[in-house]
């Protein structure tokens, strides 16, 4: 037998280069679709140039390297630890200890990868008068919400481990839990307040299982399943993520029901902010200062008029935003005034604040470092506590050791580093690209032009006005302005609007507006464009989801390649795309979430009944892993852009549908594949 020796330095470099090249190319391919899609959509459909393309490209490079490091880190470090603990736990601990461990792990995972920031962002358009319960849960009881969700995930992990320990089938658990959730959802839909938290509850289920938790829990489940299995099962180890997606829904709905007992009913904005409604409003807010900040940051002119009581006080308060720093802070908090004027103020209020400079500062280079630092802390927080918990259990409690300690340590470092690069890259590259497209998306279905900036022309000389006539004989008044672009002077005619001219001060305020994509007769076409965009975005973002790729790798390994990672990822991506499209249609057309949620899950119950138990667990877990660090920011950017335009109460429900539909597509894929295989074999086997 020939003896192998360690490779020399040159060979080592070649090995490392080949190893890195394969992984980086693979991840570049996985994000190629979403990037091309976003860029082409913005340039060709929305016809808006890319802002700061270089910074975005840098961010995207971080995403590619981040994904490569992160996935490699999972394979080298986290998943082997998880599986080892899983294999050893049942032989050295009783079921009570296993359950306790599951609860601690699930609870810890929720705190390590907090989804609350994503949920708060999705709920950033919520108004206290329209959805007081939802507002309270997200703003005042957010810590209680995290504890409830954590408890739900903890119990789910514990139940999942029990299932492996006792070799329980997955389907009966689904049949037991899902109808309860659907019944509670239906019950909640009949209450004015509770109906508003249905989206939050189901979205909580979708986002709680993060990119680190999923592979860890999967590996742990596979370990316990192998050690405790009574029969062979290629689907062994799956099902915990499914439970971790369902139990938080139950926890949030129950929390809502408890809090709802002392929450005021929804009211109109005017009633809520009027002096008569102050007592009710103070049940939602801690102080009047919080009320006034909410009024300015999420309310409209109607609410502000009602709050200040008379025209004079109202105008004085608005003008004081520019003149009085204390008042600005009191009314707006940390919300920038220029952003408020651009996005929240009415035309009347903009006129009152005509002197304020609206130029926004773009992201400065120093902020890149800040982003990296912040994400490094978040990465450490997501990876280290869970890893330490597992290592402590493995070394101190189970008295086991790891064979490749150096490899595992390198894997953990890769995971943290990869997570940092990935989430920073998403913020700086993919996210900013998504935000750009998301913010311009509403113009696809807008009926009117949108105010985006203004130019104040002082010493306006009205003698420069001139008239022009159209072929139909309509006359309009114009004036010319010239801009200097590099060394060229360009003259442009602008239509003169008398309401914008202050003759006393000789000042003309020219509003810069964004035209709708379609003529107002065809604005409905814009909805089709937006829905098509949502489909493509959902599909592309899911292809790059790290947790889904980790699940795909696990499925491929457990089925020895009978189910390929690429197949799983493709089928799930189509499901997510369909789910996001349907979820977005709810926001666009404003129908209740329960109309699509309940039928979707009823279909799932039927499909689950028709599927094999092992495949059901894989399919349901696929639904739980889809909404991760790549998809969520893009969905939120899109939801917020559209939500602001349509003034919808919240953007919840998209992620819930993005979790449900992949299960439908994966179960359907499984049923069809099995049927086809059976037909092929049955032609002469029976």
């Amino acid at each position: 037998m020939p003896q192998e020796t360690a490779p020399d330095f040159k060979d080592s470099l070649k090995l490392i280069f080949d190893y890195a090249k394969v992984r980086v190319i693979e991840q570049a391919k996985s994000i190629a679709f979403i990037i091309s899609y976003l860029v082409l959509f913005q340039l060709l459909i929305l016809r808006v140039p890319l802002e700061d393309a270089l910074a975005t490209a840098g961010g995207l490079a971080l995403v590619v390297f981040g994904l490569a490091f992160f996935l490699e880190g999972l394979v080298l470090g986290l998943m082997p630890i998880g599986e080892r603990v899983g294999v050893k736990l049942p032989t050295k601990a009783g079921i009570i200890v296993i359950c306790l461990f599951g609860i601690v792990l699930g609870f810890g995972a929720t705190f390590a990868e907090p989804a609350i920031s994503a949920l708060k962002l999705a709920g950033s358009t919520i108004t206290a008068w329209d959805s007081p319960l939802l507002f309270l849960i997200l703003e005042r009881y957010s810590e209680v919400l995290v504890i409830c969700v954590g408890t739900g995930v903890g119990l789910a992990v514990a139940l999942g481990l029990c299932r492996f320990y006792y070799s329980w089938a997955m389907k009966p658990i689904i049949y037991a839990v899902l109808p309860v959730l659907l019944a509670l959802t239906l019950f909640a839909s009949f209450d004015d307040n509770l109906s508003k938290i249905i989206g939050l509850a189901w979205d909580c289920g979708a986002v709680t299982t993060g990119a680190v938790t999923v592979p860890l829990v999967l590996a742990l489940g596979i370990g316990v399943s192998r050690a405790a299995s009574k029969g062979s099962s290629s689907g062994g180890g799956f099902g915990i993520i499914l439970l971790a997606s369902l139990f938080p829904v139950l926890a949030v709905l129950l929390l809502g029901m408890v809090i709802n007992t002392h929450v005021p009913k929804p009211a109109t904005e005017k009633d809520f902010f009027s002096a008569a409604g102050r007592t009710e409003a103070l049940k939602v807010f801690n102080s009047e200062e919080e009320i006034v900040q909410h009024l300015f940051t999420r309310g409209t002119e109607e609410g502000r008029m009602a709050f200040f009581g008379d025209e004079f006080s109202y105008s004085a308060a608005i003008k004081s935003l520019a003149e009085n720093t204390d008042n600005r802070k009191r009314f707006l908090g940390s919300f920038p005034l220029n952003k408020w004027i651009l996005n929240k103020a009415s035309d009347n209020e903009r006129n009152l604040l005509a002197d304020v400079n609206l130029t926004e500062n773009s992201l400065e280079s120093g902020q890149t470092i800040e982003v990296l630092q912040g994400e490094a802390v978040a990465g450490l927080q997501a990876v280290i506590p869970l890893t330490l918990l597992l290592l402590l259990v493995l070394i101190l409690f189970l008295r086991e050791k790891l064979k490749y300690k150096d490899e595992v340590a390198l894997g953990i470092a890769f995971t943290v580093f990869g997570m940092t690069l990935l989430t920073s890259g998403i913020q700086l590259g993919l996210g900013s690209l998504g935000n750009e497209v998301g913010s311009h998306l509403p113009k696809a279905f807008a009926k009117e032009e949108k105010f985006i900036d203004r130019v104040v022309i002082n010493d306006f000389d009205s003698t420069l006005l001139y008239k022009a006539v159209s072929v139909s004989g309509i006359q309009k008044t114009f004036f010319n302005v010239y801009d200097q672009i590099y060394d060229r002077e360009i003259v442009r005619p602008i239509e003169f609007e008398p309401v914008r001219y202050d003759s006393a001060n000789k000042r003309y305020v020219h509003a810069i507006v964004e035209q709708p994509l379609f003529d107002h007769k065809y604005y409905a076409l814009g909805f089709v464009v937006v829905l098509l965009f949502a489909f493509g975005m959902g599909y592309g973002a899911t292809l790059a989801e790290p947790a889904l790729n980790a699940l795909g790798m696990t499925v491929e390994e457990l089925t020895v390649g009978a189910l390929k990672r690429k197949q799983i990822v493709q089928v799930v991506s189509i499901g997510v795309a369909a789910g996001i499209t349907l979820g977005l249609s709810r926001i666009l057309f404003g129908y209740p979430l329960v109309f699509i949620l309940v039928p979707s899950y009823l279909i799932l119950l039927v499909l689950t009944y028709l599927s094999e138990d092992e495949f059901s667990a894989i399919a349901w877990d696929s639904g739980g892993v889809t909404t991760g660090p790549v998809t969520v920011p893009l969905v939120l950017a899109m939801g917020l852009g559209i939500g602001n335009e349509l003034s919808v109460s919240d953007g919840f429900g998209i992620l819930a549908m993005a979790s449900a539909f992949p299960v439908i597509t994966v179960l359907t894929f499984g049923i069809l594949s099995k049927k086809k295989q059976k037909e092929n074999l049955d032609t002469n086997s029976k």
Binding site: A6, R226, K230, S232, L681
Partner: protein, 389 residues
Amino acid sequence: MLSTENISQASIENEWIENFKAMGKEFRLVSRITCFLNQELDETLLDMLKQFDVDVFVESGRTVRLLVNESVLAILGANTKLQSTSVNVYRFTVPRDLSYKMVKSIALACNLELPGRGTVFSQDILEFSKKVNYVDEEKLDAFIAKNEDSELNLLSELSYLVFVLSNNSSAEKLAKLAINLGICVPLLTYGESNDVRDKMGLIRITVSPLKELVHLVLPEQDSQNIISLLMDEFQMKKGAGAIYNSPATSGVVDTRMLLGKQNSAASVDQVIAAIDGLKNDTKWRKRTDVDIKPKGFTPILAEDQCEIALISEDDDVEIFEKACKKQDKLGIIASKITSLGNRADIKVSNALAKSEISVDSQNTVLLVADIFNVAEEKNKSNFRIQILP
């Protein structure tokens, strides 16, 4: 490494028996039954095995067949693609004298004379284990008697080929070649090999431990030529992997390699299965009297080899690695398996590993002795050693 068995199996065995007796370790002459079926038949098999007190080990795998669909445009010819099906590979041992009856009972219970339902075969081995598998011969006889109308005849003089491929995702290519050569329905499994990686320090992360294993069962007289043909077609290069060839005493081989629309009363697979059954062997399938030699790379031919397998808990692969290290042997392939034990409590893990190595038959006794020595040092005794001459 290509292994053939030119030396009489019986004489090697006799020599070992003397040596093992001298070691004072208890061993048995048994047959290892390997079985992979259409998953819908797993329950039938497991129901049958429940009647006996045997430890069954299960490994995940997949079988690959070629799906032939007629193209919409006939001019383009037929579309072919590989179709994979998940299978569980069951392995257990029975006393040698009962192996034929056990294989026949399984084949009868699962109706394996119909192509497409699965493969079962037995191999004679020596086994060291604390647990003695007990099979009630009367039950087997009763079962066979109940199916006396069946025309099922087992094949004899089979070869079991295992290709261990270092290059991931090349197994499907090899499986397709095997199907195109009409060998049998290939079984694909995964294994891990770490001993070369372990010498590389942390740089080992650049080399995947994962190996793809392609398992083929075919007529013994054709095995050498088939190996040569496959190596040529597959363009197997130096370092691409290893091929192990071992004898199988009896079995039923799944020959349903093609799927799709059937245009005749019986498929070629059915005709082959029927002739195999009528002739009771596969000698009629011999393709050529000429010995085919690989045209390209000439493999290192290692004759007089035997397979040593350790079935143990996941961690105890270390015992095997240490013992092999003492003998300066490389090339352990470990596969994850689980036990279908009827456990009352879970203090014994079902997460097991089957680690195998091919060694010179002269070194077998020394290696087995080393395994026992290392196991004693580590205070481990819950394992099985299987030796296939």
